[in-house]
Amino acid sequence: MDINMIIFGGLAIVMIVSALFAVTSSKIMRATTLLLFVLFGTAGLYFMLHYTFLGAVQITVYAGGIVVMFIFAILLIGKGSMDITQTSIRRYLAGMATALTGMALAIYLIMNTDFHSDKFTADGVDMKLLGNALMGTEKFNYILPFEAMSVLLLACTVGAIMIARKK
């Protein structure tokens, strides 16, 4: 058996099991921690594809940023007040319908997409290429979204300071 299949299988099992427990756990903190393992698994998949930049971004942004923010939010709201104590049957059905629709859509897209696997290179993407694409002003470069994003972040920071400041 190919070594990549073994690693992929391991990551897939970790991700699926963590995702299932994250959804079914009644404790919000455990669900967040399990979500973290799903995100680690995704980062592992990117590393497996030698796309180390996206893998590191996945870890920094999601594990080091979003999950930390989730935990901070839970801690500030109050211990245990967000734990799920009872669930109605209507919620179950609505959740299941959403999940099944999402899964059907995902399977349809995977089956009908050309993944350009012939363009895959095993030595990853050069960082200079990525940097030039992010900061370039040519066609198919991303300087405008990049700057718009920084303005958005600045607006968020100013807003946070405004809310936090007490007159």
Binding site: M1, D2, I3, I6, K27, M29, R30, T33, L36, T52, F53, A56, V57, I59, T60, A63, G64, G65, V67, V68, I71, F72, L75, K79, G124, D126, M127
Partner: protein, 358 residues
């Protein structure tokens, strides 16, 4: 100079000759993992002993002298004491998260430890994004601290964890900015390449003023990242008993303790790799015979020498300055270090563009 890739290639070829390729790869993974964990623990032991002796020297004491010659076996006695302690189960706490938290912290620091360039070719993880991966891997250690504080069911642990979270997230920014300054100077993020460039002169010399400013910012922010004095607010003994690890006993506490020491080793290791040349020997242009003589000293000696020099600096700071208040810690970061770091990044970019580097 000894290139370790010859040794690793020989081992690789031997393993491939005796077993099929997937098995050889898995065996290599296992060997590397065992070596990395063993090195991690050996350095932790050395550093705990060094901390005791350096602290004693700064306080005009002798430090441990009873267990073994010159107190050498003291750390082993400490570990033995920790192992025979009772593991206390906290009532109404989340046991799964409580037991998971120390491992998250150790995992984060172990992955970062694997990125350090110990000698030429002696490096476990060497991605083309190198330093960015180090920042990514060290950023989730904080999750373990937050979970430890939350799952202990203790308000002092909780306050310690929140302080730690705020402090580590803030100071990550300064660490990132000073590393970025060096990336601008080197033009690459791959750690092996960064060190390779420095065989023609260390970055702290080649980058002169901006590099020295970045080094000072990095040392301050790195000290805060490891939660050590003068930034040891998360575990300020007089206020919070022991902060986020108050409720941990035995090896749970031991893992946090080891991770804290190894984070200091990693901070010092990255400082030596980025600023002081890693395994690159001392190089002075024009003195060829001197440079050749320096090349006879093995790279691992250079790397460990520089790393332990930086560790000694960190310990000097630790045992000299009094603890700061939490508001002072945050003011120092957001009102001084971040603006200086941003300005310094600009100065470095101008220097590189104008060709003012050495």
């Amino acid at each position: 100079m000894l290139d370790f890739t010859t040794i690793t290639t020989a081992i690789d070829q031997y393993l491939h000759s005796v077993m099929p390729a997937p098995a050889a790869t898995l065996t290599e993974c296992a060997i590397v993992a065992i070596c990395a964990i063993a090195a991690y623990l050996v350095f932790a032991i050395v550093m705990i002993f060094m901390e005791r002796k350096v602290c004693a020297a700064f306080q005009c004491r002798l430090g441990p002298t009873r267990v073994g010659f010159w107190g050498i076996l003291q750390v082993f006695a400490d570990v033995f004491k920790m192992l025979i302690k009772e593991i206390i189960e906290i009532k109404r706490s989340d046991h799964i998260l409580y037991n998971l938290a120390p491992f998250l912290v150790v995992m984060s620091s172990l992955i970062t430890f694997c990125c350090l360039p110990f000698a030429q070719g002696l490096q476990v993880l060497d991605f083309n994004i190198g330093v960015f991966f180090i920042m990514a891997a060290s950023s989730f250690g904080i999750l373990g601290i937050l979970l430890a504080g939350w799952s202990s069911n203790n308000k002092f642990s909780m306050i310690g964890a929140m302080r730690s979270g705020g402090q580590m997230i803030s100071y990550e920014l300064s660490v990132g900015l000073s590393i970025l300054t060096l990336v601008v100077l080197s033009g690459t993020m791959q750690i092996s390449e960064i060190v390779e460039i420095q065989t023609q002169g260390w970055f702290i010399v080649r980058g002169h003023i901006p590099a020295i400013i970045a080094f000072i910012i990095y040392i301050i922010a790195g000290n805060a990242e490891t939660n050590r004095a003068p930034f040891d607010l998360p575990e300020a003994e007089s206020e919070l008993t022991a902060g986020f690890h108050t409720e941990y006993s035995g090896m749970g506490f031991g893992l946090f303790y080891v991770a804290e020491f190894m984070n200091m080793f990693i901070i010092a290791g990255i400082a030596s790799a980025l600023f002081l040349g890693g395994w690159a020997p001392l190089y002075i242009p024009g003195l060829e015979s001197f440079n050749n003589a320096m090349c006879w000293i093995p790279g691992i000696v250079w790397f460990l020498g520089k790393t332990f020099f930086v560790i000694w600096l960190l310990m000097w700071i630790r045992w000299t300055f009094p603890r700061m208040r939490i508001d002072q810690v945050l003011v120092l970061e957001w009102k001084y270090l971040v603006p200086i770091g941003l300005l310094n990044l600009l100065i470095m970019t101008i220097c590189v563009v104008m060709g003012w580097t050495l």
